[in-house]
């Protein structure tokens, strides 16, 4: 554990050194993109995925990029960093956490010539402030299919962050996917009220393992749940990135982010002057979300079934929230023959049948 902390620190230091090697001369029309992260790129999860996107965008477009890490939400820090960057000539600001939303809206009005791209919020304008996110429920569904096929106890554990629509949507999609390969499966949810707290997330996973869950899925940024699953001889569906290195035996697969394409688009549009803000909710077809490679011991027919479902989702033939879907309380969530619209999905507040736990 400690050794890993040190190696993470080394990675962080290395990134800092690389970023500092960049010059700071600017000419009038040049695009420079600054990324403001909520965690460290060394977290192997959420921020790591965004930083991979930044690197990909820098390589593809050739623009100068820079980042700051571990910027807390709800304080004056975000706006101070953004102003610092703008003073240095950066004209694309990417903020990768929900809590930056209000600051970005205000800054977008103050600096109409700067492009502000916000990840995971819901506010935007039609000139220089856009928000983007991915339909993570698509690969979540696929990961549920794998988990459902691999469980022997028919109880899947889900260590979840906060009862917000994004997380609830993920749990529901995972559950529907699991039911697609195993009609008897149940998914039990534990809330941690954390995004990154390895101790709490590990304990919560352990509680689910103790209850008999033999596959643990998660929606936070640490790898703690996987380590508990590995120790217990159970299986693990990680999140954000392919975390197989952290629990090689337990790891089954993971719904993952791929931000490169989106950031390339944002920067290219800024260069061409065609950025128009608005809302982007990218799908597996766009490549912004995907399923990590499936563990080699998963039976071939399951892998094939998942691959078929993936293709069907990409082709638009399979929709995760297509009816009939029954809610946890027995009411009709989606009627047969209907498909949930984006607005309802973005505001999802109730579990589907088969989930144990409450959204309160």
């Amino acid at each position: 554990m400690r050794r890993r902390l040190f190696s993470l620190l080394a990675v962080v230091l290395a990134f800092g050194a690389i970023a500092s090697a960049c010059g700071s001369d600017d000419s009038s029309n040049e695009v420079k993109a600054a990324f403001i992260y909520v965690g460290p790129p060394g977290d192997a999860g959420w921020t790591w995925a965004h930083d991979q996107g930044r690197v990909a965008a820098a390589e593809a477009t050739g623009v100068e990029t820079a980042f700051v890490e571990s910027v807390p939400e709800g304080t004056a820090d975000f706006a101070n960093h953004a102003r610092d960057f703008i003073d240095q000539g950066f004209n694309v600001i990417v903020g990768t956490s929900f809590g930056y939303m209000d600051d970005m809206l205000a800054l977008a009005e103050e600096y109409p010539d700067v492009v502000f791209e916000h990840v995971s919020g819901y506010k935007n304008n039609d000139t220089n402030f856009g928000n983007s996110f991915g339909r993570m429920y698509e690969p979540r569904y696929l990961s549920g299919m794998v988990a459902g096929a691999m469980t022997e106890s028919n109880l899947l554990g889900y260590v979840a962050a906060f009862p917000i629509p994004e997380v609830i949507r993920g749990i529901n999609a995972f559950t529907l996917g699991a039911q697609a390969t195993n009609p008897d499966v149940l998914v039990e949810v534990v809330w941690t009220s954390t995004w990154f707290d390895p101790a709490v997330e590990g304990d919560s996973a352990q509680a689910l393992l103790d209850k008999g869950a033999d596959v643990i899925a998660m929606h936070q940024d640490s790898t703690a749940a996987g380590e508990k699953a590995e120790a217990a001889g159970a299986r693990w569906v990680s999140y954000n990135s392919d975390m197989s290195a952290f629990a090689p035996t337990a790891f089954l697969t993971a719904p993952v982010w791929n931000w490169g394409p989106r950031y390339i688009d944002t920067i290219t549009q800024a260069q061409e002057g065609t950025y128009t803000g608005g809302s982007y909710w990218g799908s597996m077809a766009d490549g912004i979300v995907d399923l990590a490679p499936i563990a080699s011991d998963v039976p071939g027919d399951v892998v094939a079934e998942v691959a078929d479902a993936k293709q069907a989702i990409i082709d638009g033939e399979l929709h995760v929230f297509a009816g009939p879907i029954t809610a946890q309380d027995g009411s009709v969530m989606v009627a047969a023959g209907e498909t949930m619209d984006d607005g309802s999905m973005l505001g999802m507040g109730a579990f589907v049948e088969g989930v144990i736990g409450s959204t309160g």
């Binding site: 800092g16 460290p40 807390p72 709800g74 600051d103 999802m348």
Partner: protein, 358 residues
């Protein structure tokens, strides 16, 4: 066998505190140079940027001042308790409690005139912080429950309460299911002073000066210092220790609560879990650096604020937050460590049988 020990000086070195402070600062910055060179940065450019971003322009000053306000008030809160030998480790939670009460008043006082609403919010913030501190205060005064433990644990309680409100009854119906409190109305925002600075700096300085005066010029302040240095003397002099402990801890909580109210009204768009960026814990360092003297709190808070703002700003030059945090810690440790040497001397002692601890 000989070993080195710290021995309290008979007299604090003349002019020692500011001098030691400077020496410590320079020493720490030299270590920082090594750190920056190792991590591949130009130390001169980095230090230049730190100074530039924190003190180099009116805007830089305004950002530093805004940062110094919660640090100063949290530092004062800890120092007030510390002057009686009590440790309030719960300033972080009291800041949240203050912010929660202020946010609550902002909800109730919709449509009130701005000066009235802001005053009510700040008063409520004081009450909020004081309320959270009142439990530990009474428990400590009446039955001797260790206030370090109780105040520390209440930090978690305050945070969970805030989460519960944001995820529950305070959730903005327009936030599409996201756990967000509604935006504060414009009437609830503290007016600006200059650039990005708000009136919180004036309020904080006023409170710190007021407490400095009360502590040094009134009988109450005198009794406080007596009670702080020796409980037995205080009892002999007829000072009620129980009452002193209760008032001081509640006062301490109220001051921290005020910081929460000012943060909400001055810096935030709405109340969030991130309303305090660890100011309550940083306040402990501020108070320690200021040797628990209110007079020192303002100066230390300003320096602390400048170091934090400078440290944050060099991150946009590619310095990682870890290196920046280590650098900030060095500078503050350097200043604290040097402060120790102005009050203690290093002595070599023979350590045969009469070994003396502490």
């Amino acid at each position: 066998m000989t070993r080195l020990v710290l021995v309290r000086r008979e007299q604090v070195l003349k002019g020692g505190q500011p001098l030691a402070f400077l020496i410590g600062l320079v020493f720490a910055m030299l270590i920082g140079v090594v750190l920056l060179l190792i991590s591949g940065h130009d130390p001169l450019a980095i230090y230049g940027r730190m100074v530039e971003a924190s003190l180099g322009s009116p805007r830089a000053w305004s950002i530093t001042l805004n940062r110094a306000v919660p640090l100063g008030l949290a530092g004062l809160a800890v120092a007030v308790a510390g002057s009686m030998g009590l440790w309030n480790i719960g300033a972080e939670g009291q800041i949240l409690a203050g912010a929660m009460m202020a946010a609550w008043v902002a909800r109730l006082g919709e449509g009130w005139a701005s000066p009235l609403l802001i005053t009510a919010m700040l008063v409520a913030a004081v009450v909020g912080g004081a309320l959270l501190a009142s439990g530990p205060a009474v428990a400590r005064a009446q039955i001797g429950v260790n206030e370090i433990i109780t105040t520390l644990m209440l930090n978690e309680v305050a945070l969970r309460l805030l989460q519960w409100l944001i995820h529950g009854s305070w959730k903005d119906p327009e936030s599409r299911g996201f756990p967000l409190a509604p935006m504060l109305p414009d009437e609830a925002r503290l007016p600006g002073l200059f650039e990005r600075a708000h009136w919180g700096a004036v309020i904080a300085l006023g409170v710190i000066a007021l407490f400095g005066l009360v502590a040094s010029r009134t009988a109450w302040g005198y009794e406080l210092r007596v009670a702080g240095s020796s409980g037995a003397t205080a009892r002999y002099a007829g000072i009620s220790l129980k009452r002193k402990i209760t008032t001081v801890l509640i006062l301490s909580g109220g001051i921290a609560g005020l910081a929460g109210g000012i943060e909400l009204s001055g810096n935030a768009d709405r109340i969030t879990e991130g309303i305090s960026a660890g100011y309550g814990f940083a306040g402990i360092i501020v108070a320690a650096l200021a040797l628990l003297r209110p007079s020192g709190v303002a100066a230390v808070a300003l320096l602390f604020g400048a170091v934090q703002v400078g440290g944050l700003s060099i991150q946009t030059m590619g310095v990682s937050s870890s290196v920046s945090t280590i650098l900030q810690a060095f500078i503050l440790f350097g200043a604290i460590g040097a402060g120790v040497f102005s009050r203690y001397a290093v002595r070599r002692v023979n350590n045969d049988k009469t070994s003396s601890e502490s």
